[in-house]
Amino acid sequence: MTGTDRAWPWKILLAVILIFSAAAIWGSVKRIDYQWRWYRVPQYFLYEAEEPIKIPFDGVVEGIAVSGGDALVTLVSEDGEKQQVSVDNETVRVSQGEDLFEGDTIGYVYQWHAGPLLTGLWTTMWISAAASVLGLIIGLVAGLMKISKNYTVRSLAAIYVEIIRGTPLLVQIFIAYFFIGTVFNLDRNVAGVGALALFAGAYVAEIVRAGIQSIPKGQMEAARSLGMSLPQAMMDVILPQAFKRILPPLSGQFISLIKDSSLVSVIAITDLTKSGREIITSTFATFEIWLVVAAMYLIVTSILSQFVFYLERRLRVSD
């Protein structure tokens, strides 16, 4: 805690540097004469859509009742069948007694929908979450295999880890989708999640192995000397201690996974990145959308690291 009292000059320096950087970026962007259209961005989060309400038969308008902003229109078909529909009062296109044909528009309703940025974010989150859970399981198994006494078991895990760590994730995703996915007729989501899980699993395996091996040998010996079986000793003594140590690298791995999941957009999964690209093709708001997409990734990863930070502090009680 030395120098806390003299921290303020450095804080000021930091602020100055940040302001200068922002100004420099702003200045350069001004020079290329880019048209900022921030007002276009919100609609890609949430938008209100107008949907026409149509009459499903040939018939007549029996009555229109207004309640609040809505109009309740009663329709009667030629067979005497009655139906009531609700539309926005301002948009009523028909009047009482009017004859209508099937498919004629009576009026419109307005509804809020999640825009592509939100649905993309949702896809990114569930793909990352599913791949994390699977990757954790794969990594745990592979990590335990790596420290097995059996040569074959150990080697299998080592080969898996080497292959995954020695090839680019992008290529793995292509192989998972275009090769394995074609052979086994896999859905693109399955291929995407599977590739990410296998990728994360290899790194988790190394983290788990290192974590377990960092626990002093005496812990396993003490547990075994009390008559506990190897699985019991692992579950109750070694893994809980190892977990505490591997939590920081493990969470780093999962935060990376959220970012790496953007690569599944190459197999046409509409995640946050792909949504961003799609929006840009229709709006040309390139700068705004990429900045917003980056900010959204940043928010998700920061929330996650804050949560891990909190968890670490909770686990520190026994130190």
Partner: protein
């Protein structure tokens, strides 16, 4: 109770082979206390770890209550539950409280109900004189307290035999006494014990028999009386001269 026959343990690694334990035979009868002494690296730890199968030996046999521990049909976990072990480095579970350290194996191995295990644990903590620390984590305890918890943890399994591997060597001198006192009480109550130690006072006071090991072999064996008054072997004499 414990019978070791010609136990031999060979370590191989990086091109060198070490006969850490070289044909050791001995017996410990029920209620006996056998103390093993010897210079560092003489194979004392390796031998005592062979007794509960923590170290698998290359030759020989170990029988606990007549059961061959290296037999394929023997359930080693069942044997180990009957053989308590106390380590030089305590090896308490740091992520569990003192009470949980004592109840974990009772529940998992002896399948005792939590309540029963806790009662047993509290009684033993009382016995080793640290009842008030039951909800502390081990890192908050002094070395002497930790080692007493470790002894209580082993006793909680109701072992027939207790093995001690230099239980006081990692302790500050002022804490050695409190641990030795617990061990002496155990010995007086009739616990069968095998103790590796450099505490000659302890050996003299409670041992029924003393083994002197060097280079993996038992060089001399006898009562404390014989040992400290009239040792026969040159190496024993030399060792005792250094430590006494």
């Amino acid at each position: 109770m414990i019978r070791a026959e010609n136990v031999t343990k060979i370590f191989t690694g990086r091109g060198i082979t070490v006969r850490a334990v070289d044909g050791v035979s001995t017996t410990v009868d029920k209620g006996q206390v056998v103390v093993i002494i010897g210079p560092s690296g003489s194979g004392k730890s390796t031998f005592i770890r062979c007794v509960n199968g923590l170290e698998m030996f290359n030759e020989g046999h170990v029988y606990i209550d007549g059961v061959d521990i290296a037999d394929r049909k023997t359930n080693i976990n069942k044997i180990r539950a009957e053989v308590g072990m106390v380590f030089q480095q305590f090896n308490l579970f740091p992520h569990k409280t003192v009470l949980e350290n004592l109840t974990l194996a009772q529940q998992r191995v002896r399948r005792r109900k939590k309540k029963v295990a806790q009662e047993k644990a509290r009684a033993l903590l009382n016995k080793v004189g640290i009842a008030e620390k039951e909800s502390e984590y081990p890192s908050r305890l002094s070395g002497g307290q930790q080692q007493r918890v470790a002894i209580a943890r082993a006793l909680a399994m109701d072992p027939k035999v207790m093995l001690f591997d230099e239980p006081t060597s990692a302790l500050d001198p002022e804490m050695v006494g409190e641990v030795l006192d617990v061990m002496k009480t155990l010995a007086r109550e009739g616990m069968t014990m095998m103790v590796v130690t450099h505490e000659m006072g302890f050996a003299r006071e409670v041992a029924d028999r003393v083994l002197f090991m060097d280079e993996g072999k038992v060089i001399e064996e006898g009562t404390p009386e014989h040992f400290f008054k009239s040792p026969q072997e040159e190496r024993t004499k030399l060792f005792l001269k250094q430590v006494l």
